[in-house]
């Protein structure tokens, strides 16, 4: 039996990508992982049941994270789509786009510690709305940059054609622009959702730990040395993006350049 080096390499890369998911799932199902056992012992789903029944806060964190990520995704995708149109056709497009790049200059956590003062003064620190606004500082410019490429000459001509044929701007937007942008809107929604879903530093500083998203929960369990609940929270963080990636792989693959 002969092995082609190409297939051995593919098998190694596949194993490297799958192992973390398997380890997290096994740890979340386990109740002990004593050295030098390679596979965690006493595997059962009871931990998952307990996590949602007992007062662990995991279920609550899941709902908060879902709500936060969905709100960030909806607001930033919608506003970024509208804002990007204005920027794309503006004579100072390059300068305005530079503005949109500014939030990416700073690490989110450094941005958060510097902005914390203003959030405290506005009574937004430690609140859901405060964390939502803070995350929009990252997600909204991202969405604006994302859609700038969509507003090309062809889109402008479509819009002008509808107007020439008697349609209003609202009609052109609803019947031509939005259907044409549908795949991009979907991708942007998922990407903004993931930005909020993955966020830790900014949420921990602005939220003061009072907005317990799943990432905050993971860090809390890690510092408490509760690796089994930490792994369970990690699984909850990783599985929805895997599902989203699987659904959107082909579209995302075509868009990222």
């Amino acid at each position: 039996m002969t092995f082609k080096p190409r297939y051995v390499s593919i098998a190694v890369i596949t194993l490297a990508c799958i192992t973390p998911v398997l380890v997290l799932v096994l740890l979340s199902l386990s109740q002990s992982w004593v050295y030098p056992k390679v596979i965690p012992g006493r595997l059962s789903v009871s931990q998952w049941r307990e996590a949602f029944r007992q007062n662990t806060g995991i279920a609550n964190s899941l709902y908060i994270t879902l709500l936060l990520a969905a709100a960030v995704a909806v607001i930033s995708t919608t506003s970024g789509f509208i804002c990007s149109k204005w920027i794309a056709y503006h004579k100072h497009k390059k300068r305005l786009l530079l503005l949109a790049y500014l939030p990416f200059v700073l690490s989110p956590v450094i941005l958060a510690v510097c902005l914390k003062f203003y959030f405290i003064k506005l009574n937004l620190a430690g609140t859901f709305v405060g964390v939502l606004l803070a995350q929009l500082v990252i997600a909204f410019p991202y969405s604006t940059i994302f859609f700038t490429g969509f507003w090309n000459r062809q889109m402008l001509q479509y819009e002008q054609l509808v107007k020439t044929l008697g349609g209003s701007q609202g009609y052109a937007f609803k019947m031509v622009i939005v259907p044409a942008a549908k795949p991009l809107l979907l991708i942007c929604f998922f990407q903004c959702f993931l930005i909020a879903w993955f966020e830790y530093g900014l949420t921990s500083v602005i939220g003061y730990g009072k907005v317990p998203t799943l990432t905050i929960k993971v860090y809390q369990f890690v510092t408490e040395a509760n690796i089994y609940y930490a792994a369970l929270s990690c699984c909850l963080l990783v599985l929805p993006p895997i599902l989203l990636l699987w659904i959107n792989k082909r579209i995302i693959f075509r868009q990222v350049k």
């Binding site: 190409r6 390679v38 786009l97 940059i145 701007q169």
Partner: protein
């Protein structure tokens, strides 16, 4: 109606993009210069002088740059190899789905996994024990919280290499690298020469803005070094946050000075990147 949308757009962009940066840097700069802040007594350069005499700050910047450079060099080399060798396998099938799994990992989860994979009692140590490579838990090398940042690099590498694979595979298609390779070979180049002289320089040149932007992102990384790093040297974000959230209030101005220094560095780098390239970069 159209004018109202335009005004709303500029306000939105200013409010969520420019204003937070101006406000945060303004506040940090004024605090570091002693103009505002609970224990500050007026304008002073003392906090900046202290910062420049403290070797930890320069060590922190150097360590962050080291982590970012090593991670990106390894990630680019690995991704280029995968993209050039397996770009057909990456179009469809099981492999094309599996290779992008790490993109579903938040930095914190990647750090958590690598802690349990590379620590002395981790998965790799257990496998080494079973294979007879080490005979006790202490005999296994320090791969997390170590001075070379091996754990930090591994965790970053895991989450960033699929991004580069995706980038290179798309560029291979859009730049018609296959056609250039065939042309080079038809002119007498070997496969390796065609890769070295044509494909790799072309792909690196076309993706350089993305690579440099990833450098900025990695330079300010927080979650991974927080879990896998050690107290000295620290990465810049960890150092700044530690100084700002300490109970000793006298360290806060220095923390803000680190934040200002970091912003100036990354802003300068961003301007260089954007000036040297077209600004129609697509996220």
């Amino acid at each position: 109606m159209d004018k109202r949308w335009k005004i709303a757009s500029i306000i939105g962009l200013g409010w969520f993009a420019a204003l937070p940066l101006v406000l945060s840097i303004g506040y940090a700069l004024l605090y570091s210069l002693g103009v505002i802040g609970a224990l500050n007594k007026g304008f002073t350069l003392l906090h900046w002088q202290k910062l420049f005499t403290e070797s930890a700050v320069f060590g922190s910047f150097a360590f962050s740059a080291y982590i970012a450079v090593v991670t990106i060099v390894v990630a680019v080399a690995l991704s280029l190899t995968i993209a050039l060798q397996y770009h057909r396998h990456l179009q469809r099938g099981f492999f094309s789905s599996v290779i992008f799994l790490p993109m579903a990992f938040p930095a914190l989860v990647s750090a958590f996994f690598f802690f349990h994979a590379l620590s002395k009692s981790g998965l790799l140590s257990r496998l080494a024990y079973k294979a007879g490579i080490v005979n006790s838990i202490e005999a296994f090398a320090d791969l997390v919280n170590d001075q070379w940042g091996i754990g930090i690099i591994a965790a970053h590498l895991f989450i960033c290499f699929p991004f580069f694979v995706m980038l290179f595979v798309n560029r291979i298609k859009s730049e018609r690298v296959g056609a250039y390779l065939s042309l080079a070979k038809s002119l007498g180049a070997t496969h390796w020469q065609a890769l070295k002289k044509v494909a790799i320089p072309l792909l690196i040149k076309k993706t350089l803005p993305n690579i440099l932007l990833y450098f900025i992102f990695m330079f300010g990384s927080y979650e991974i070094p927080l879990l896998l790093g050690r107290s000295s040297p620290e990465m810049v974000s960890v150092l700044a946050v530690r100084k700002l959230q300490k109970f000793n209030l006298y360290h806060i101005p220095q923390g803000y000075a680190v934040a200002v220094l970091y912003t100036v560095f990354t802003l300068g780098l961003l301007i260089i990147i954007l000036r040297s390239q077209k600004l129609d970069y697509d996220l």
